[in-house]
């Protein structure tokens, strides 16, 4: 760490939207070669702060200094020219350009205003090789999975020759392995003197990587400590203003008949399904875990009605039938599916909270096609209370909520239908630790009420602690089932990777 002027220093940064104060008097410092983890509840102002120091939005008050010189960024362009790179929480890529062009976005090799696609791709390939990530730079961005897009975004930011990099929840959709690669790169960069600001909801990462942890709460920077001098519990107390409850591992065993049963699901293609059969009983949470390409997500999506091409049988409460060809049939069978990308597939961002919460139950809320507004509002208020959604009004657009609260709205909309089976895919992606526990608790409550839950997640910790029974998939087939004492992260990884019996 350097002893002269800090790489970045801010004092008195404030930001409000209308009357809503989002940031208040934030004083922050980052030194060369330092890595700072920023944590805080959903909506605490972390992203807003990140956007201010990268020129995406302008603060209402406060000053910034870069290596001792006062700066004021008018645009991201300004910040970039000062050597500040940023990966926003909302991935900012261009869907119909190639991966290579996205990596080099706005920095295409140029010769008198001319550029070359081949050269761009070569540069992008070099950049990703330098960083140590293998990417097919010729593919279209739009054809990539979320995690792959996230990786491209990381390569883009890291290839900018920045002296300071700001990453807003970069690992939210990465696998364990990919996260580890990212941290290795970041460590190398800090070694070269680059400053890193790193926003995360994952406590383990904070400990693994950062020199210092800064905690935001309600728009204020309430704590700034090296991780070695604090405990997770303390950090969480700073974040939430209270102690976090501990979550107890799921151990339910269902004796009831199965609510739903998948028989011999098959599908050719990538990923494939090679005859998957599984059952979920009343009052139990069944987890499905597998690395990317294992077909685990197909199970969830198939139950949601997204894969009519899967062959096989579906037995709902004893009645055997075909796979749902569209989501309409899934809804009618009273199976609620929670998609993994809430903004793209789950929510209608410009509509009010209450409208999003009633998406699946419009008919129940209506009499001869007319919505009963009072009933809708009461129902939404009730759900919001049960899920502890933080909002200003039920009429507020969902897009204005913080990501964690958006996730809760999505869950609430599915639970509103009182489904016999709740199918969840990545239910806590981008959700703060407090909300994560709440969501987990909620799943438990649902199971305790006698409903069935199928949880497909790439978050191993979540898979292990929440599910009563954990099914491991590999290469389109079920390779094992863990329960009781054998249900550990180590066993799950071993099975998923195929390195155990």
């Amino acid at each position: 760490m350097s002893s002269d002027a800090p790489l970045l220093a801010t004092t008195g940064i404030g930001k409000r939207y209308g009357q809503h104060v989002v940031l208040r008097d934030v004083g922050f410092q980052l030194h060369r070669g330092e890595s700072v983890a920023v944590i805080g509840e959903n909506g605490a102002g972390k992203s807003t702060f990140a956007k201010i120091i990268t020129g995406v939005i302008r603060p209402d008050s406060g000053e910034m200094w870069l290596e001792g010189r006062p700066v004021s960024f008018r645009s991201p362009r300004d910040a970039l020219r000062h050597g500040i790179a940023f990966i926003p929480q909302e991935l900012a890529y261009v869907p119909y350009l190639t991966v290579g062009e996205n990596i080099m976005l706005g920095q295409w090799p140029s010769w008198h205003g001319l550029t070359s696609h081949a050269l761009t791709l070569r540069r992008a390939r070099e950049a990703s090789e330098r960083i140590g990530i293998d990417l097919d730079v010729e593919r279209l961005m739009v054809s990539l999975k979320l995690a792959e897009r996230q990786i491209v975004e990381i390569v883009k930011a890291l290839s900018r020759d920045a002296r300071m990099i700001v990453l807003d929840e970069p690992t939210a959709s990465l696998s364990e392995q990919e996260s580890r690669t990212l941290f290795a790169i970041l460590e190398r960069l800090t070694g070269e003197g680059v400053g890193v600001i790193y926003i995360s909801h994952r406590m383990d990462e904070v400990y693994r990587f950062s020199d210092r942890v800064d905690v935001f709460r309600n728009g204020e920077l309430v704590a700034s400590v090296p991780p070695s001098q604090t405990t997770p519990a303390e950090l969480i107390a700073h974040m939430l203003g209270q102690e976090k409850e501990e979550f107890v591992h799921g151990t339910r065993t269902s004796t009831e008949q199965s609510v739903i049963e998948l028989r011999d699901w098959k599908r050719a293609g990538i990923p494939n399904l090679a005859g998957v059969s599984l059952a979920v009983g009343q009052g139990e949470i069944v987890g499905v875990y597998g690395v990317r390409g294992s077909g685990a997500e197909l199970v969830a999506e198939g139950l949601g009605g997204l894969h009519p091409e899967i062959s096989g049988t579906l037995v709902v409460e004893g009645r055997s039938g075909a796979i749902f060809p569209t989501p309409v049939e899934a809804r009618r069978a009273n199976i609620a599916y929670v998609p993994p990308e809430r903004k793209r597939d789950g929510l209608v961002l410009m509509l009010p909270i209450q409208a999003n919460m009633s998406m699946l139950i419009l008919r129940q809320l209506a009499r001869i096609g007319v919505l009963r507004s009072r009933l809708e509002r009461d129902q939404a208020a009730d759900l919001a209370r049960r899920f502890d959604v933080r909002f200003r009004r039920l009429g507020q657009a969902v897009g204005q909520l913080s990501g964690g609260n958006q996730q809760k709205v999505l869950l609430a909309s599915r639970m509103a239908a009182q489904p016999r089976l709740l199918v969840l895919q990545e239910p806590t992606r981008g959700v703060d630790v407090g909300a994560r526990v709440e969501i987990h608790k909620f799943l438990t409550e649902i199971a305790d009420q006698g409903r069935a839950v199928l949880l497909v997640t790439s978050d191993l910790e979540e898979a292990v602690i929440v599910s009563d029974r954990l099914i491991i998939m590999r290469d389109g087939a079920i390779v094992g089932e863990l329960r009781g004492p054998s249900k550990t992260q180590a066993n799950a990884i071993a099975l998923a990777a195929g390195s155990a019996a």
Binding site: Q19, R332, R393, G395
Partner: protein, 335 residues
């Protein structure tokens, strides 16, 4: 931990913000375009003595009815994330079919129903092409615009078809007080459309589908069916507008309605909708229609020469929307 001063201040601020936002969200866009409308009315009241009279008010109302009815349907299409250029062909097709039918001795009411069916068929074709073949609404409705307009011309041989029996113009001729039946029809349809969008399952689905088609599909809505229905409604309303033009003119002509597509889309967008879908509403649309109709009426009264009317119309349109945006910016909202 106890609530700090700061936290309490935040809470108060948030309560305050809630009230403001309620007003803002429900009405701001409306207030914006409404204020623009008031400004336009005030301007013309000073500019022309004949403007703010009873008879001219009736006049403006009768003038805007046709575009108004088309705009109701267009609003549904735009809110649900599509849009419909073919109304410019369906209006004349409706007008010509109506004239042919009544001249063939079909009773007026039956003729109106048949014309509505013609519109419905066009709308179903639009909807099916958009949803089943996946051609985008612009090209789809541009194609059916060409087809329906051509049909209107060939059915009428390009000649205007006067009603043999002027009684068939009942929609235009009958009045309640000084208000024609068709103005009342516009008001009634507007109320129905407004209530439908606000309080019906179908209306809610339109907003959801327009706002996020994939999310709506995953939530189990029949997005394709709803889309087809929207196009059916839109084209049916356009064909009804055709019946009204014909009733006003006591004749069917293939030359009517050429401006219907652009004017109705402009009205809906002026009224606060976005071409990307999911937002917009009937009150705004109606004010949008009134803005366009009033500008053109006011300028005719002021005897602005034709060419300058065009220039002025464009300028007022831009000023009006800019003014609406300005209010937005002033109140600190961001889109």
């Amino acid at each position: 931990m106890v609530a700090t001063d700061a936290e309490q201040r935040v809470a108060t601020a948030q309560r305050w913000a809630t009230t403001r936002e309620n007003v803002a969200q429900a009405g701001l866009q409306l207030i914006g375009i409404g204020a623009v409308y008031v400004a336009i009315v005030i301007f013309f009241s000073f500019a022309s003595e004949n403007f703010l009279t009873y008879s001219n008010t009736i006049n403006i109302l009768t003038n805007v009815t046709v575009i108004g009815i088309v705009a109701l349907g267009q609003a549904l299409a735009i809110i649900s994330g599509g849009f419909d250029l073919s109304v410019s062909g369906v209006v004349p097709l409706g007008a010509v079919s109506f004239a042919l039918l009544v001249n063939d001795g079909v009773p007026t009411v039956l003729a109106i129903l048949l014309v509505l069916c013609v519109g419905g068929v066009v709308g179903a074709v639009n909807g099916l092409i958009v949803t089943q073949i996946g051609i985008n609404p612009l090209i789809t409705t541009l194609g059916t615009l060409s087809i329906t307009s051509g049909l209107a011309y060939s059915l009428s041989n390009g000649v205007t078809i006067p009603f043999k029996n002027p009684d068939n113009g009942v929609l235009a001729d009958k009045t309640v007080g000084d208000i024609s039946y068709y103005v009342i029809l516009l008001v009634a349809l507007s109320i129905v459309a407004f209530l439908m969008l606000r309080y019906s399952v179908f209306g809610r689905m339109l907003y959801a589908i327009g706002g996020n088609r994939e999310a709506s599909r995953l939530a189990g809505m029949r997005v394709n069916l709803v889309t087809v229905l929207v196009y059916v409604l839109c084209a049916s309303l356009a064909s009804l507008a055709g019946v009204i033009v014909a009733s006003q003119l006591l004749a069917g002509s293939a030359t009517v309605g050429a401006q219907a597509a652009l004017q109705s889309i402009a009205a809906v967008i002026l009224g606060g909708a976005a071409l990307t879908g999911g937002v917009g509403g009937i009150p705004g649309t109606l004010i949008g229609v009134l803005v366009l109709g009033t500008i053109s009426n006011g300028m005719a009264l002021m005897q602005v020469p034709a060419f300058y009317q065009q220039i002025a119309t464009g300028t007022i349109l831009l000023l009006a929307v800019a003014f609406g945006r300005l209010r937005h910016i002033l109140v600190g909202e961001q889109s």
